[in-house]
């Protein structure tokens, strides 16, 4: 079969896939989930989940040229014209998040195999990967949809799947059930607040399509129903993304979840909720109006600053590493919220860039902890002793990600913090710059604490007598090391060439603030 023939064959499939990529991005993992329930023979379920997530990633890549070419894509479900049917609207903002979520899905799957085999019993593995795929589909669904109520439905799919995945950590730590239950109660309250918000929006505008709502409530930003809707959506999504005062469920949920779930959630779950809030605040409500302006300055910015400082301090006192990283995630989320609450194009772009970089950092950190727990049974900071000697490559990647979290030059963290400070200075928010500095310095302490124990202490002698005898060193295959090194390298690469995420973030910010839902 000559090349031309092959190409001739592939081209139509490619164009077909290209035009129908938007629904396929969500439907492939959604329908692959139920199939995964039956494949519980050894690694079949894992291979199936990996293949599907790679396919999803390919579909997202197919979307990229179209979005970059003509600004945004609109796809009508069942060819019903928007106000009637559900519409998928993809612009550079959700393309960035789609790239992130699908890439992290692939990476955590590739990374997660030895961890899953170590922590989840054989019979439940098929269902575990099914729940994972459904969670991935839910997150992608929230990111890609252009319909307000559809966001709620897919938010619920991803949330219920996340509650279940978190509770799967119970084989390793019995407190996982309680953590999952608290997460469920807080998550459902958040979702219900979000539904109230969408209901009020529907009451004010009469439609559920985001672009249409924006058009109808454009003039009425002083209407009380619209204001109440804004408040409820912000609180609802704030709960989902663990905004500062509503974050109590996150540390124990991430600490008790299985390590692979921790890796995936840390870099995607709260980010998608953050994206939803950005989408609603800027595309649906009119950011310029005095009410939203007041909320930005009086509610979001102080919450962001409080998150940055208080959660960094809390992270300092944590013994369990995953709780420490969870608290630092909430602090880093404060950075993104700070960018958002500036309301300027530079601010929002900086926030989105930090979102992208933070996913890289936190993903790598959780992977490092996962691999270490596989070999040395690491749960507390003390157990990291001597990791520098026993597992040099993991320790090195962990260090790179840690430094990136602090914002040391040569790492991506520096770039996003740099742009955040520039945006804050332009906005004249001195106190925000001070908060950024204080929390970076606090980051030095709690990351420094971990790095010091890793490099300067002697590794625990693996003797049977030790109470927390680490499991026999399971074959941590190269498979697990690959993604970890890739993430660490990405952290460095995006310092030198931050054009991809920065370009997308800028385009997204302009699209959002330029002319409403352009």
């Amino acid at each position: 079969m000559t090349m031309a023939m092959a190409l001739g064959m592939i081209m139509p499939i490619l164009t077909w896939a290209g035009t129908h990529a938007p629904p396929l991005v969500v439907v492939t993992p959604l329908l692959a989930g139920p199939i995964a329930v039956f494949l519980h023979k050894g690694r079949l379920a894992w291979a199936w989940a990996l293949a599907i997530s790679i396919l999803t990633f390919v579909f997202v890549l197919l979307l990229m040229p179209q979005v970059i070419q003509n600004g945004h894509i609109a796809y009508y479900m069942g060819t019903w014209v928007p106000p009637l049917g559900i519409e998928y609207r993809i612009d550079s903002l959700n393309l960035l998040i789609l790239l992130l979520v699908s890439a992290m899905g692939v990476l955590s799957l590739v990374f997660g195999l030895p961890l899953v085999e170590n922590e989840i019993e054989e019979s439940k593995r098929g269902q575990f990967f099914a729940a994972f795929l459904l969670c991935l589909a839910g997150l992608l669904g929230v990111t890609i949809t252009g319909d307000a109520f559809n966001v709620f439905v897919f938010l619920e799919i991803s949330s219920i799947a996340t509650y279940v995945l978190v509770s799967m950590g119970a084989e390793r730590d019995r407190r996982a059930y309680v953590a999952a239950f608290n997460y469920l109660v807080m998550g459902t309250i958040g979702a219900t607040f979000f539904v109230i918000g969408v209901g009020l929006l529907y009451m004010a505008s009469g439609t559920l399509n985001m672009a249409d709502i924006a058009m109808h409530i454009h003039g009425h930003s002083d209407n009380r129903v619209v204001r109440a809707a804004f408040a409820f959506i912000v609180i609802g999504l704030g709960l989902k993304m663990a905004m500062f005062p509503l974050h109590t469920w996150l540390p124990s949920a991430y600490a008790r979840a299985p390590s692979m779930v921790g890796v995936f959630l840390a870099s995607t779950a709260t980010k998608v909720a953050f994206y939803a809030m950005v989408r609603f605040i800027f595309s649906v409500f009119t950011p310029g109006s005095p009410f939203e302006g007041a909320v930005f300055d009086l509610v979001l910015a102080p919450m962001a600053v409080a998150a940055m400082i208080i959660c960094s301090v809390q992270a300092l006192y944590q013994i369990n590493i995953r709780r420490l990283l969870a608290y630092s995630s909430i602090a880093q989320l404060g950075y993104m919220l700070l960018g958002l609450s500036m309301g300027s194009i530079a601010g929002v772009a900086a926030g989105l860039l930090h979102l992208f970089n933070h996913a890289l950092m936190k993903g790598a950190l959780f992977m490092g902890v996962g691999k270490a727990s596989l070999r040395q049974g690491v749960t507390n900071v003390q157990d990291l002793r001597g990791l520098g000697k026993t597992m040099p490559l993991t320790a090195a990647s962990f260090t790179v990600a840690g430094l990136s979290l602090i914002g040391v030059p040569l790492t991506a963290g520096f770039v996003s913090k740099y742009y955040l400070v520039v945006a804050a200075l332009e906005r004249g928010w001195w106190w925000a710059v001070a908060a950024l500095i204080v929390s970076s310095v606090l980051a030095i302490f709690y990351i420094g604490k971990m790095l010091e124990t890793m490099y300067l202490h002697e590794p625990p002698k693996i003797t049977k007598s030790k109470k927390t005898a680490p499991q026999a060193p399971a074959k941590t295959s190269l498979l697990a090391l690959g993604p970890l090194m890739l993430m660490a390298a990405a952290n460095i690469y995006f310092f030198f060439d931050a054009s991809l995420p920065k370009g997308l973030a800028d385009a997204a910010a302009k699209a959002l603030l330029g002319g409403g839902a352009s």
């Binding site: 129908h20 629904p23 439907v27 959604l30 329908l31 989930g33 139920p34 199939i35 329930v37 039956f38 796809y75 009508y76 479900m77 069942g78 060819t79 019903w80 106000p83 009637l84 049917g85 559900i86 019979s123 439940k124 269902q127 575990f128 099914a130 729940a131 459904l134 589909a137 839910g138 669904g141 319909d147 109520f149 559809n150 439905v153 897919f154 619920e156 799919i157 219920i160 799947a161 279940v164 509770s167 799967m168 059930y177 109230i196 009020l200 529907y202 009451m203 004010a204 505008s205 009469g206 439609t207 109808h216 209407n223 009380r224 129903v225 204001r227 109440a228 809707a229 408040a231 409820f232």
Partner: protein, 348 residues
Amino acid sequence: MNADFITPLDAFTIIDLILMLMLLIVGLAIVRLNDIFAIVMLAGVYSLVSALWFVSLDAVDVAFTEAAVGAGISTVLMLGAMLLSSRTALPAKPVRKWASFFIVLATGAALMYAVTDMPSFGDPLSAPNAYVGLEYLKRSLPDTEIPNVVSSVLASYRGYDTLGETSVILTAGLGVMLILGMGGKINGQLKKKAIDYDNADAQAHHTVLRVVSKMMIPLIVLYGFYVQFHGDFGPGGGFQAGVIIASAVILYALIFGVDAAKAAVPPLVVRIGAALGVLIYGGTGIAGLILGSNYLDYNVLDPHSAPHGQELGIMSIEIGVLITVCSVMLVIFYGFTSRQPDITDKDW
């Protein structure tokens, strides 16, 4: 906002007032009570009364679902969970009461603040009622030849939402399967039978129930299918039908014992059913895709007449929903009954 519409007071408002009063009383009672058995029952009553209210608000489909799913299945699940856990709740500590009271007051105030700008009740020209809703009413029949506009919007116009919803149910079923297991081994050893349902004494004890239920169960299943296929013309559809058929099987399990029910509807079939329903639904969508149109477009299903294609599409996805809902409800029920201890008569 159409400010000048004045809601007329007529007989229906009086019924609404009574129902609202009952709802408030039940709500307050749940707050004050600590006996979980009473709370669960009151929750069931709350759902039923709100279902009544939905009927008077012309939301017949929602009333049906609320009664079947909200009052029926939720109460059964709550009772199941309650019997496997403790019976009375500790009263909340005062400091927590006051803290939550203020939080609730704040959210309530935010909502009350918004009430003034809300369209008055029943206003035909308010934003929601006069825009897309009206458009659906006009286009539903010509487009899909299905009188029940709710079913057509549910399945066709906003079919993607319902796909999401079916996957939500599947995720819940998957979750219960993962958390509670399906009655196979529980931490290692097979669950011993608490009550041997086949011995003579048990037989005698349940004869009346067994006879009546033998008669009723086929009727319930038949009624379930009626609701499923009648969904296009009147209130009904995949969800309600699925729940009804599941409740028939649950009734069978309660009377004739879980093992008998597992023999009749084996867990494997139920597990496959849960996945199959979503696949049918998704598959219909992909069929539209393969036939060259957008995802979930039923017009292309029947080449020569679009509305007929819509009807075909809606029919198939309703079947998908039926299978998933029915199997997931059974998965959840098997999950609960698989945990120790078995529901002995003494606890009823």
